[in-house]
């Protein structure tokens, strides 16, 4: 039984603007930790706000459990205050004139919960999040991380069935982010709430989500587990958006560059079915350098290049290769034994190749040919 169901949801801010969200169908299962991932302006926050009821729809329908909360065709609109959800804002939106305790028990007071029960609940939530010692302070007296916890506590206090998070970690520094990420994962386990999380940070999405929905320009690109998204990106956009350093894309058709000719020749010689392919993607960690001990693996795509840059990133290295003017990036965890200016042979296994058609969509047929084990 899905918890939240969006069908045909469309949002247009009027005028001649393009749809902020176009024809979106999405199902979020009960207890799922769903990440809406995409670059800024892709419609992910708009989608979240529509689920919360803070934006109205231009077309489509939203159901939460069995209840239709939004339907343009049926003229249904349940206002946000009646949807019984929680939403943590990017800015936290703590009420500056109320103490931490009053911020936290605001929702409970509205629900007219008896005092003793309310206090017990607030105590419990504050303890869980470690903010009980700040209860009499005002939001401006807390640090960003503490404010973040209060914003979470405020929503968790009313025990919502759905918790919506709008880039809640983007205003925190790196160390706090890591801590809060672990915290969120723990809370998800503990409260068993359905969580919808909006972020533009692929790393955040990968580490937190049980399911990721990648969006771009108002359209859903792919829905899947973090592994799916990384291992089998549905199109070039997803492949390029997820992964750091980004995936190397080699255009096929034109055959102008050295790498392109090489890839064309490679595919043409082995996989006749792929002659319509438009481009291939190779993740940086899939590229290896051939050396005296280990040559190019059997059946791998390989080529010559010059090392034009070595960038240590602490524990690993990014190596920039240039072949006939085209750049390829690779990563390695072993201290590179090459130097800038050296000529090298690079290679990648065929099962590491992502093949896209001319429209940029993943060619499933390539997967069947190149990764037989994975599919069956």
């Amino acid at each position: 039984m899905p918890k939240i169901n969006l069908s045909g949801v469309e949002k247009n801010y009027g005028g001649n603007s393009a749809n902020a969200v176009a024809d979106l169908d999405l199902e979020i299962g009960d207890g799922e930790f769903m990440c809406l991932l995409g670059p800024s302006g892709c419609g992910k926050t708009t989608t979240l706000r529509m689920i919360a009821g803070l934006e109205h729809l231009t077309a489509g329908e939203i159901r939460v459990g069995q209840r239709v909360v939004d339907s343009v065709v049926d003229g249904v609109f349940v206002p946000p205050e009646k949807r019984e959800m929680g939403l943590v804002f990017q800015s936290y939106a703590l009420w500056p004139h109320l103490t931490i305790e009053r911020n936290t028990d605001f929702g409970l007071r509205l629900r007219k919960m008896p005092k003793a029960e309310r206090e017990q609940r607030v105590d419990q939530v504050m303890k869980t999040l470690g903010i009980e010692k700040y209860r009499d302070r005002y939001p401006s007296q807390l640090s960003g991380g503490q404010q973040q916890r209060v914003a979470l506590a405020r929503m968790l206090a009313v025990n919502p069935e759905v918790l919506l998070l709008d880039e809640p970690l983007s205003n925190l520094d790196a160390a706090l982010r890591l801590e809060m990420r672990a915290e969120l994962k723990r809370l998800h386990r503990e409260f068993k709430t359905t969580i919808v999380f909006v972020t533009h940070d692929q790393w955040e999405a990968m580490t937190l989500a049980t399911t990721i929905a990648v969006m771009s320009e108002g359209e859903l690109q792919q829905v899947g587990t973090p592994n799916d998204i990384y291992e089998r990106p549905a199109n070039r956009f997803v492949a390029q958006f997820v992964g750091n350093p980004p995936i190397n894309i080699v255009e096929l058709g034109d055959g102008k560059s050295e790498v392109s000719q090489l890839a064309n020749a490679y595919l043409g010689a082995r996989f006749a079915e792929l002659r319509d392919a438009g481009s291939i993607g190779i993740r940086p960690e899939a590229i290896r350098l051939a050396d005296a001990e280990r040559g190019v693996a059997d059946g791998a795509v390989a080529g010559q290049a010059e090392v034009t840059g070595i960038l240590p990133t602490g524990g690993s290295w990014i190596i920039e290769l240039t072949a006939g003017g085209e750049k390829l990036f690779m990563t390695t965890h072993q201290s590179p034994e090459v130097e800038v200016g050296e000529a090298v042979t690079w290679w990648a296994k065929s099962k590491a190749l992502h093949v896209f058609d001319k429209a940029g969509q993943r060619m499933e047929v390539a997967d069947r040919l190149m990764r037989p084990a994975k599919l069956h």
Binding site: D25, E27, G75, Q221, A359
Partner: protein, 625 residues
Amino acid sequence: MSGQSQSSVQTVVKPATVTHGTVATLKSPTRSQRLRYRTKVALREPTTIIGVLAAALFAYLIVVPIISMLSDAMRVQFGDERRIKQDVGELTWYYIDRVFLSRISHDLFWEPLVNTLSVAAGAITLSMLVGGTLAWLLSRTDMFGRRWFATALIVPYMLPAWTFALAWTTLFKNRTVGGQPGWLESIGFSPPDWLSYGQLPVTIILALHYSPFVILLFGNALRRFDSQLEDSARILGAGRLTVARKIIMPLMRPSLMSAMVLIFAKCLGEFGVPYVLGLPVNFDVLATSLYQNISSRQVGVGAVLAGAIMLIGIITITIDARLMREARRFVTIGSKGSMNRLSPLGILRLPATGFAALMFLLSVGLPIGTLFLSTVMRVPGQFNLDNFTLDYWIGTNLNTVALQTGILLSPDLWNAAWNSLRIVGVASITSGILGLLVGYVVARTPVKPLGTFLRQVTFLPYLVPGIAFAAAYLSLFAVPRGPIPALYGTTLILMLALIADQMPYASRAGIAAMTQLGKDPEEAAQIAGAGWFRRMISIVIPIQKGSLTTGILLPFISGIKGLSLFVVLAVPSTDVLTTYSLRLVDYHYTQAANAVVLIIAGLAYFGALLGQKLTKTNLAQGLGN
């Protein structure tokens, strides 16, 4: 699985979690379904309804009076039928012709226009010199007592402008006018007319009164200036003078121009000063010319004059808006290194402090001191101990025709004070609350045109000098119209006019506050389950407490010392403090008039001080708006 969506570049591969069943059954909504849904959304929230009501209210309080007045300018007025040889209400060019082209157009319009322009030009030049120097001393040098002066030098703007006019007459009044002589006259020196009345004193007084504008605007710009810009030039080898000439001045130009334009707009509507100091020598400016036409029931001519003043005002403010846009373009340059480096004045440190002190004495000490002394002296200018008396404040059985008690014992004063507090108080509270509501609607309504209309309509009175606006109210409410009875002579018309007149400030404060607050805190409450009313009471109003206080206090202060609106609309029974003191001036009860003005100045000053304490902000800066 991917077969259904391979047709174009945009298509998406939708794995198993995406539903397909519902898509087929869900049709794209029809127009009427969309409308029904949107209406439902809009009606959930009273925002739109409040917005529509507010829009109707302001259309009636602001737009209709102005239109009514402009149409008066083109229609034959009651009493003019015979002269124009047309029936009342018919279209006519008569008034326009009379004001701009006829033989008396010179006295009616052209000479007052020239006077207005030359007074404004003089006042602008003087206040630029004085205010500009002071602003620089305050924000960029190591002059002594800068913090104290920063507040003290703004005080002149908190006092009613014609405080200075009355002080001037107290000092310089000569035989041209009857009543008590001025101090100079009574010590045996008879000042010439050009020194006592007309252009010179009006110009000097307006310059003193408006130089705080320059201090605030120019000083702020100087303080906000990014010192890195200056440093870059210095590092490249520019000397201090070159930096000042090539870097600082060009960047300061918008703020200086803006101060100039604002002073001009204020001079245009200034009534009290030219009225007190111009009348004895028939020195008319546009505002006094308009007043005289209105008080002699020349409604049509008055309407044309008011329209002309309005037009000049609109042009001026439009120019200002342009300049401010330009200024904003500059402001974005730097935000990090504000300029807190001070130029050492060296040997000039003491003289500079002396100059600031002198300006404070001239613009605050002297006028207030003179006015106060004049109220406790029987014969002006004689400093013998037996010449001092408190009779004018608290005496009884005085040997005068009217006002036989000291001013504090006169019921008229208390009546006027009560009227002032009541009218200005009600109007300020109302406009403060309306301003916050306008801000709320503008920031929240999904109906964009409604927000735009509200923002513009509440700004409209800003373009119309008070006296022209009062004329518009007179035109609309002097006679019964439809279900609305004639309001002239009631306190209601004063309140309504004051509310409308204060809306630009109130709504600007409200819009700024609501936009700054953003939607998040309210939406968070909404998610937590709070309905609209609960959100207003528990979230929005408590958070906006400070700006609401400012939004009420600022109009209150400017209303208490305001004259131009009241002078047209008040009658003796609805006298407020300002019109009451003007009436006393007209009757030559100099001491009483001065005492009342002192009371007003005190109210305005301590009101501003109180506001500053309450909101912990510098209200003086807000007064510059």
